[in-house]
């Protein structure tokens, strides 16, 4: 019997638009065949979020657009434009 496992790709984009450029990325591999980790590459896997879609990744979560907290409009914190993608692959 064929089972599937989830591979997850997280892309951080330049703006809230899915076709804007990738500024950060992370991978997690439920197949156990790879162990991506912090600081393991300098070049992103795709130039834009749409590039991931074109390669078969399915988008399943995107950051909402949240207004700044009153009084903290100029504070910077986490990256704002986070997109989660998945592939289901046979194992």
């Amino acid at each position: 019997m064929t089972t599937t496992r989830q591979q997850v790709l997280v892309l951080y984009l330049d703006t809230s638009a899915l076709d804007s450029k990738v500024v950060g990325w992370a991978r997690y591999d439920g197949t156990g065949s790879a162990r991506p980790t912090t600081g393991d590459s300098d070049e992103p896997p795709y130039e834009t979020g749409v590039g991931a879609l074109e390669d078969g990744w399915r988008l399943f979560q995107a950051s909402p657009l949240v207004p700044p907290y009153p009084g903290a409009e100029h504070a910077t914190s986490f990256l704002k434009h986070e997109f989660f993608f998945e592939k289901l692959v046979p194992r």
Binding site: R35, D42, A75, S77
Partner: protein
């Protein structure tokens, strides 16, 4: 794209590194305003190969033998590191002494120090993090010194540092989800290299895929004086200062990059005691409130 891996900072007004082995300046070499502006933008300075070879050898031996004894939090440098000790001699190198004086000021307290060791093929990296607690002081910052006594090659898992991340308000390893960011620095360096970092910088020890043990010695310093104009300020009005402060980094989102520059302006105002300093009108524009300063109009 600029290669942030190779932006060594050299001490102001001093022919640097090649002097070791034949001549050692004995006076502190303060940073220039442009260099402090670069620290303000990047969140760190890098001094390549500033520690002489014999001290590197001695340090490697001490680190391999189990590190250095702990120091109580807040101990003054002379009490923490007696005259002649390895750490004291390291801190007395003119380029390091001058850079530390320029950033954290004279007579800082030692917060803590520790030798970090990454074993060969250990299999994991640290999550991206900032040290200690979320720390949003607007008029003070701690400086962390990272010293690499041996050459660090790409496979040895040199420290990951994210330029320009130090003013982000995040707590410790909550950034662990971010594996890679454009423009990150995966440190490779010659022996005797030192980084001086703002306390808020995002960083992490990378996975050591080599056959070599890698050591990094970190000391955190707390300021004991106001961090205002502590460096060589002769070039404070130089265009190079603004060039450094308006620098953006490849991982910044388009909109947030503007906020980063705004926040650097505020930090530079604090560092220079110049409340009117601005770049491209960013801070002035959004604080211009004529009505708040106008005399009340008569309604008669």
């Amino acid at each position: 794209m600029e290669n942030y891996q190779w932006l060594p900072i050299t001490p102001h007004d001093s022919p640097p590194l090649r002097f070791y082995g034949c001549f050692m300046p004995t006076t502190k070499q303060l940073l220039s305003s442009a260099e402090v502006a670069r620290f303000t933008a990047h969140g760190f300075l890098r001094l390549d190969g500033v520690v002489p070879g014999e001290l590197n050898e001695e340090a490697l031996g001490a680190f391999a033998a189990g590190g250095l004894p702990a120091v109580p939090y807040g101990t003054p440098v002379p009490a923490a590191f007696p005259e002649g000790s390895l750490t004291r001699r390291l801190l007395e190198l003119p380029s390091l002494a001058g850079a530390l004086d320029s950033l954290v000021g004279p007579d800082p307290a030692v917060d803590h120090h520790f030798v970090h060791t990454r074993l060969p093929h250990e299999g994991s990296a640290q999550p991206l993090h900032a040290d200690a607690l979320i720390d949003v002081r607007a008029d003070a910052f701690d400086v962390q010194l990272m010293y690499y006594p041996q050459e660090v090659t790409a496979s040895m898992g040199g420290t990951l540092v994210v330029p320009g991340s130090h003013l982000r308000r995040t707590n410790e390893s909550d950034t662990g989800r971010y594996q890679n960011l454009r423009g990150q620095t995966r440190l490779t360096c010659p022996a005797g290299t030192v980084l001086l970092l703002h306390h808020g910088i995002w960083h992490g020890g990378r996975r050591n895929d080599s056959d070599t043990v890698r050591h990094m010695y970190k000391i955190r310093f707390n300021p004991t004086v106001p961090q205002v104009r502590l460096w060589d300020t002769r070039d404070v009005d130089s265009p190079a200062v603004r060039e450094e402060l308006r620098r953006t980094f490849p991982w910044y989102e388009q909109a947030t990059a503007r906020l980063e520059i705004h926040n650097r302006i505020l930090l530079w105002r604090s560092l220079t005691a110049d409340p009117g300093f601005d770049i491209d009108h960013w801070a002035t524009r959004i604080t211009n409130r004529p009505a708040a300063h106008a005399a009340p109009r008569s309604t008669a």
